[in-house]
Amino acid sequence: MKIKSLLIANRGEIAIRIIKTARKMGIRSYVIKTAKEPNAWYLEEADEIIDFSENFDETIPEFLDIERIIKSAKKRKVDAIHPGYGFLAENPDFARRCEEEKITFIGPSHDAIYRMGHKTIAKELAREHGVPLLGGSPGAVRDAEEARKIANQVGYPVILKAAAGGGGRGMRVVSKEKDIERMFSLATNEAAKAFNNPDVFLERFVREPRHIEFQILADKHGNVVHLGERECSVQRKHQKLLEESPSPALDPALRKKMGEAAINIARSVNYYSAGTVEFLLDVDNSFSFMEMNTRIQVEHPVTEMVTGIDLIEQMILIAEGEKLPFTQKDIKLNGWAIEWRINAEDVQSGFSPSLGTIEKISWPESENVRVDTGVRDGSVITPYYDSMIAKLIVHAETREKAMQQSSLAIRKFWIKGTKTTLAFCRAVLQNSNFRKGNFNTSFLSKELKLHYHAEPDEALLAAFFATYDYAREINENEEKPLHTENGKAITPWVLKKRLR
């Protein structure tokens, strides 16, 4: 069935990204307006706006309100819903409700979401299909005491993970037995909070693995291909900070082996749509299955750049029932792509969120530079959503050239109004082990001691500008009084005295 209209149950850059493909395919796009971001850019890009900003239920965030979203889609006779990432993207109930209401869900079946979303079921499926796994608890851990027992069996360090989790939330690494109780309670609290399910499981923690994930595309006719890997090892507290495709750690033989394992995982749940299979890669090139993300990923653009395939378009075609237009041997990885996540975060104080208004944003336009963003001049970074400002994706023939072009693009990526992770990107590009492709998930904690890079004279220039601005202000204030009283001017200095 051809999809003619599409509701995007998401916001920000991913909403705009999906709208672009919808427009290209002649599909009418609908988005949801919330009171939290009534002037967001994605609203303007869409063909239609569904207004949730009035009469909203404060107990449930707009993008999680399954019944309201379904009702709105039905009322407007929308053919399909794309959930984007986060929010309801991996909620099996939402996919099921769409199916029940005969709205095409642009994603896998609710059954595949459920089974892959449930980490213990997913691990069992992996085991049945001969995909390697790490040792740990067979299912959810009952209590701190059981966690202690299993941890002692598999050996420290161990990791506690939310059974319903993803994206690094609800995960805690425990290095010593004395911490297990506190960490268990942190992990279960966070899991309950974030996923409405306090279950956590425990597994052996590989100290310095690489995080490698494979992009899968599968249709409803049993055809499954992989589009190569993404290297996501540069992370902080399990949050990815940059991704590249391909990975400097893989050769064609290992890529083939891991790609086949990823396809096996997808086949184990009769997967269709786009999906991602995550692996840990150890130093000896042994790998183990982590989880499958049953949605489009934040970092999908690097795969699009090296394969030339529009993943959102393929998701829509698959949802319409089309067969994949290519087979595995048609997939070629062309060149190297790196995605830099530019977040409103203060890298000089532990990446804490830096809220505020993006006064101005500008980047270098170029053929091999792609910027996916949901903000423009005047956009506000709110506390309600994540802190992402933009994704800068650079594509070149080789990794070396991609890094070189990245340096140029980052230097010309200007943001005014908030602290950003741009200085972190500079620091990464300065690091010799990153440049050699020699890094793993401990890169930030062990290798990159300083999380930002400043050139020698920058502090001096900042200091100069502070004194300059201060001196200028004093001069201006003396010349132009700012306040008047009974028609007479009062200088700020007089005002200041009164306020004392």
Partner: protein
């Protein structure tokens, strides 16, 4: 707060960094910096899109004033921020004098690094804490963050309660240095 200089542009000003490094500028409004014994010109520009930058020794440095409160400045140069208080020679002297007078064993306050909700308080008043010990769990941006004591000492007072929402820089706890 340091009281500001009222005098005209000829005044010498000092930018004092958070790490107590003093940068002295004789005549900031004349846009010259004394650098390795020489006076070097500094040029300030605004591009057509409204971005400000400095040209210094033929290189371009992007500039953004993130925070400005009286004499306190946070300035971003090429993506890295630097904090200063702007002082006159007199106010700097006074500031240094007051700092020396301050009791070195005073209590240090632990502030919220970001807005969020207090999920748990891990210590009680009177408890001894080590440097690097987690003292509070703060939930922000959908993450539970451990707030760490950056000094060793005794918990003097706790200013927040469980489930309470806090703003950035709110004082969470006071710790008496050991």
């Amino acid at each position: 707060m340091a009281r500001a200089a009222k005098t005209k542009q000829s005044t010498k000003l000092i930018a004092l960094s958070a790490t107590n490094k003093a940068y002295e500028f004789k005549k900031p409004l004349e846009k010259k910096i004394k650098y390795q014994g020489k006076e070097v010109d500094i040029r300030l520009h605004e591009d057509p899109k409204g971005f400000s930058y400095i040209v210094w020794k033929n290189k371009k440095y992007m500039l953004d004033v993130i925070e400005k409160k009286q004499n306190r400045y946070t300035i971003v140069v090429n993506g890295v921020w630097h904090s200063f208080t702007v002082e006159t020679p007199v106010s700097l002297k006074r500031k240094r004098y007051l700092e020396n007078q301050a009791d070195s064993s005073a209590a240090v306050s632990i502030e919220a690094p970001m807005p969020g909700k207090i999920i748990d308080i891990l210590v009680e008043e009177g408890a001894e804490v080590k440097e690097g010990e987690p003292i509070i769990i703060l939930e922000a941006m959908k993450m539970q963050n451990e707030i760490i004591s950056h000094i060793a000492g005794i918990v003097k007072s706790i200013s927040v309660k469980k489930n309470e929402s806090v703003m950035k820089d709110d004082v969470l706890m006071e710790i008496q240095k050991a």
